[in-house]
C-alpha cells in the first residue's frame, strides 16, 4: 500500500479524459493543487465540473490520463484513497430511515473510525444536531441535512474534502452555518469545491478553475486573479454549452 508523503500534492491531474461514448466530458484536463489549498471550480452546466469531482472521488474512472489525490492514484489505489477523502454534495448521502446517530455510526463502521460513539457525539455537537441525534433523517430540514452531511464527510478526518455545490438549496441562515463550519475546519483540510456562485467561490478559494466543454479555460492561484477579469472570462464560457 502506498504511503502519502507530507510534501505530496493534494491533487495532481494529468491529461485527464473522461468520455461517454463519443462525447468527452473531460478533455485533457491537467492541474496541480498544493496541500491545504481551496480550489473553486466554475463553469457552465455540462462543462465537466461534476465529472471531474466524480473521477477525483473514485466514483468514475478516467478514460485516459491520470489523477492522484493525496498521493494516491484514483484507479490503482482507490480503496486506500477513499480513506482520505470526504464528499459533501447537494445530495445529503444519508439514509432517510436511519436516525442522525445511526447514520454516522454506520459510516463510522465503514471507515473503521476509532471510538465511534465519541466521534459521532463530537461531530453532532459541532454541527448543532446533538439534540436531534435520535430523530430519523427523513424528518430533517434541508439545512439540517446539509449539516449532518458535513458531519458524515468529516467522520474519518479526511485530508481532502470535495464539495459539490454545497450551498445549493440552502436558505441564507443555513448557508451562514455552512460558512462557519467550513471556516472551522478550513485549516485542517484541502478543499475542492464545485460552484455556480462566483462571489462565494472566489471568496473562499486559494485557487480557481474554469472549465468549459471539458477543457481548462483558466486555472490559477487566487492571488493572481483579478475578480472582474475572472468574471468576464467566466461569463464568456457560459454560452459555450455542453462538452
Amino acid at each position: 500500500m502506498p504511503e502519502a508523503r507530507a510534501d505530496t500534492l493534494a491533487v495532481e491531474v494529468t491529461d485527464l479524459v473522461r468520455a461517454f461514448g463519443a462525447r468527452k466530458a473531460l478533455d485533457g484536463v491537467s492541474l496541480e493543487l498544493p496541500q491545504g489549498a481551496f480550489l473553486s471550480i466554475f463553469g457552465p452546466n455540462g462543462a465537466g465540473k461534476t465529472t471531474l469531482l466524480r473521477v477525483l472521488t473514485t466514483l468514475a474512472n478516467p478514460s485516459k490520463g491520470t489523477a492522484k489525490v493525496a498521493g494516491f492514484d484514483v484507479v490503482a489505489d482507490a480503496v486506500e484513497l477513499r480513506d482520505r477523502i470526504g464528499l459533501i454534495s447537494h445530495n445529503p448521502l444519508l439514509y432517510p430511515d436511519l436516525s442522525a446517530e445511526e447514520n454516522l455510526l454506520f459510516f463510522s463502521e465503514m471507515y473503521g473510525v476509532d471510538d465511534p460513539a465519541a466521534r459521532v457525539h463530537e461531530l453532532l455537537t459541532a454541527v448543532e444536531l446533538d439534540h436531534r441525534r435520535l430523530d430519523l433523517v427523513r424528518t430533517f430540514s434541508r439545512g439540517m441535512l446539509q449539516r449532518l452531511s458535513i458531519a458524515r464527510a468529516l467522520l474519518h478526518r479526511p485530508e481532502v474534502l470535495f464539495l459539490d455545490e454545497p450551498y445549493s438549496g440552502l436558505d441564507p441562515h443555513a448557508a451562514d452555518i455552512l460558512d462557519q463550519l467550513i471556516a472551522s475546519v478550513r485549516a485542517q483540510h484541502t478543499f475542492v469545491m464545485v460552484s455556480h456562485d462566483l462571489t462565494k467561490g472566489l471568496e473562499l478559494c486559494s485557487h480557481a478553475l474554469i472549465l468549459a466543454k471539458g477543457k481548462v479555460v483558466l486555472f490559477d492561484s487566487r492571488d493572481n486573479i483579478d475578480a472582474d477579469e475572472f468574471a468576464r472570462t467566466y461569463r464568456s464560457t457560459v454560452g459555450m454549452g455542453v462538452a
Binding site: M1, P2, E3, A4, R5, A6, T57, T58, L59, A60, N61, V79, E80, R82, D83, R84, I85, G86, L87, S89, N91, P92, L93, L94, Y95, P96, D97, L98, E102, F106, F107, E109, M110, Y111, G112, R152, H156
Partner: protein, 238 residues
Amino acid sequence: MAKAPARVSSWRQFKAILKKDIVMELRTKEMLTSMTLYTLLTLVIYQIALSQSGSGFDIRLIAAGLVWLAFVFTSMLGLNRSLVHEKDQGCLEALLLSPVDRPVIFFAKAIGNLIFLMIVEVLTVPIFAVAFMSGRPIAGPFWMIALSAVVGSIGIAGVGTFLATMAVNARGGSFILSVLFIPLMYPALLAAVAGTSAVVLGGDGYQAAFWQSVGMGAGIDAIMLLAVFALYEFVVGA
C-alpha cells in the same frame, strides 16, 4: 511521513451493511409487506385458476412449480425495492465512497435479500399447504423441501441482487430485472423445481433425483455467484 490508515476489516463492513439493511427493513417493512401481500395475491390467483380443475386433479403434480413461481415473482418485486433504498438521497454513492471492496457490498446486500426472501417463503409454504395440499401429503420429509428452497433462494438472491444493482444504475433500469432475471435463473429454477417436485411426489428413487437436483442447483449457484462476484465491481463502479 504520513502513514496510510489501517484498513477496516471487510467482515466489520459486511456486518455493518447487513445490520443497516435489516434495521431499515424492520423499521419500514417495505419489502416484507409488499412481498408477503404479493405472494398471498398469487395464491388467490392460483385458487381461481385451479377452481375449475375438478376434485380428481392431483395438485401435487404441479405443486412445486406453483410454489417456485410464487417465489420468483415475489422475489423480483422485493429485489427491485432492496436497492432503491440505496439510491434515495445518493446513499449508494456514500457507500461507494467508503473504503469498502465492492464484493463486500454485494454479499451483504445478497445475504440481506436472502433473509427477507426466506422469511416470505416460511410464511408462504404453510399457507400453500393448507390451501391446496389438504389430504395430499408429500412423500418426503419436510427438511428436503427446506433444503431445496435454500439452494434455489441463494441463486435468486445472488443473481437478483446483481441485476437490481444494474437496474438502479441504468437509465430505464427497472426493465433489466424483469427481462434478464428469469433467463439467467432458468437452469437454477429448473433444478429447484425438480428437487422440490421429487420430494412432493415421491416414487422409486426420489431421493436420488432430489440429491441430483440439489447438487445441480448448488453447482449452478456457485458458478453464477462467482460470475456475479467478478462482475460486481463493473456494475457498481465506473
